[in-house]
Symmetry: C2
Subunit: 116 residues, 2 copies
DNA sequence: CTCTGATATTAGAATATTCGAATATTATTT
DNA sequence: AAATAATATTCGAATATTCTAATATCAGAG
């Protein structure tokens, strides 16, 4: 699990971890929309939406197709995004730990735990 | 999709959207660990790890079981977290938009688009 | 109660994010 | 070319996040 990959994962999660951006993505999943459409739907300024779209684009979550002077934005990884939303929707009740014992830190099983 | 729910989703995504916290969660999925265990594994100070664990706990992603003076942390929503990681691993190639046309903003189909 | 290991909290500086205002760019129409 | 609609960029202030250093708390051993 190289650090490079996880950095990319973090970029994706961070991009989704903002209310406006999550809303944008949810709306785009319903269908491709241009910036003004999104602006009509969400309570944010045009510039701000454009900024958030840039963040989402840098995370490679959305992309756009130019259509005249409009940019038709769409989710370019729908399975990823829908999957995440699906998991969030199916919120399970928290599970308690099965068994409490966790680590080898206890004296009796100290086997090369502190720096060798 | 009430705002309250999405706020919670954002909290979860934001919590996962940090390199150290994502690492912590990945490690905890392998097995319950106390803070010192995590500290041994990851390049961060004890205080910092404790802080990140607090963030993860507030997002209800992890919880702990007290075991003497230790706190055995574990992922309390394993399906959610593993599901997200699984989706990130199966990174699909980006999909291009099927068809370019997107919105009703065009003059010819302007039907109640601007404020009625 | 004191000592120690384990963990948490606080405070503050460093850094990053967010957003509005203003401006720039790009494509289309006239 | 000028006007206009659509979108992007830049700047800067406000705010939030992150991290380190220091300190506090808490549990068990002696």
């Amino acid at each position: 699990m190289p650090a490079v990959i996880e950095n990319y994962w973090v970029t994706i999660l961070k991009a989704l971890g903002h209310p406006t951006r999550l809303q944008i993505v949810i709306e785009l999943l319903k269908g491709t929309k241009c910036v003004t459409d999104i602006h009509d739907i969400l309570p944010a300024s045009q510039a701000n939406i454009s900024q958030h779209l840039t963040v989402l684009r840098n995370a490679r979550i959305v992309d756009f197709a130019q259509d005249g002077s409009q940019r038709c934005y769409y989710v370019c990884r729908p399975e990823l995004v829908e999957g995440v939303l699906e998991l969030l929707r199916n919120e399970q009740p928290e599970s308690k730990a099965k068994k409490v014992q966790c680590c080898l830190r206890k004296p009796e099983n100290a086997d090369g735990h502190q720096a060798a």
